[in-house]
Homo-oligomer: 125 residues x 2
């Protein structure tokens, strides 16, 4: 196993194809394929006015907002988010990221465990 360095601006993202997603793309920055034993880091970009799905799952997210502004549905309400925010979404908590319209894209890193609590790999890890 070897250490690695990858820049988020030099990594190709793919469209996120899930129901309820509008204008989002992602790339795994460090993940299972790199031998990451416990958790993965993925980068996401949500175009202005776009959003991730409103959903929940049995594993947590730990997120860092790189740039842009928007909102996150968390704790049952919409919360403003901006660059520099670290966000903890506990397991089984409903959440959704939205990029503000008309501005820059919302860019963030989203870390997840590689294994679901109920077993099996976390999708996109």
């Amino acid at each position: 196993m070897t250490g690695l360095i990858r820049n988020i601006d030099e990594t190709t993202r793919s469209p996120v194809q899930m129901e309820g997603v509008v204008g989002a793309s992602m790339a795994v920055m460090v993940g299972r394929a790199d031998g990451a034993p416990h958790f993965s880091i993925r980068q996401f970009q949500v175009e202005p006015g776009g959003h991730t799905p409103r959903h929940q799952h049995d594993y947590e997210h730990e997120v860092y907002i790189v740039s842009g502004i928007g909102t996150i549905l968390l704790n049952g309400e919409e919360n403003a988010i901006r660059g520099g925010d670290v966000i903890y979404v506990p397991a089984n908590h409903e959440h959704q990221f939205r990029a503000a319209g008309g501005g820059d894209s919302l860019r963030f890193l989203c870390a997840v465990p590689v294994e679901q609590n109920c077993g099996g790999p976390v999708p996109g890890s």
Copy 2:
């Protein structure tokens, strides 16, 4: 357990007091105290010319460089690092972060598992 949002610019860092550290401070952004079950995210700031210890341990790092420039000792050599870099330091790999002299501080996020592979909590998680 509740979701949380904390900005890295509004969180108080404490000096890192370890042998081999010069000019580094850190704050846990999401960690064990917040109920994080698998991994923690800490923020570090290394002053120009400062560095973290040259060391290794039995757990991995997954790092995001927020801003600044410097180098990381990884894979047995010094590698340039800059904002936007994601770095994977596998377990038991020697590493050290250095901030370039005379410029801005090097700011980064460093995620670690909450448990060491040999057992017991990861320090600063």
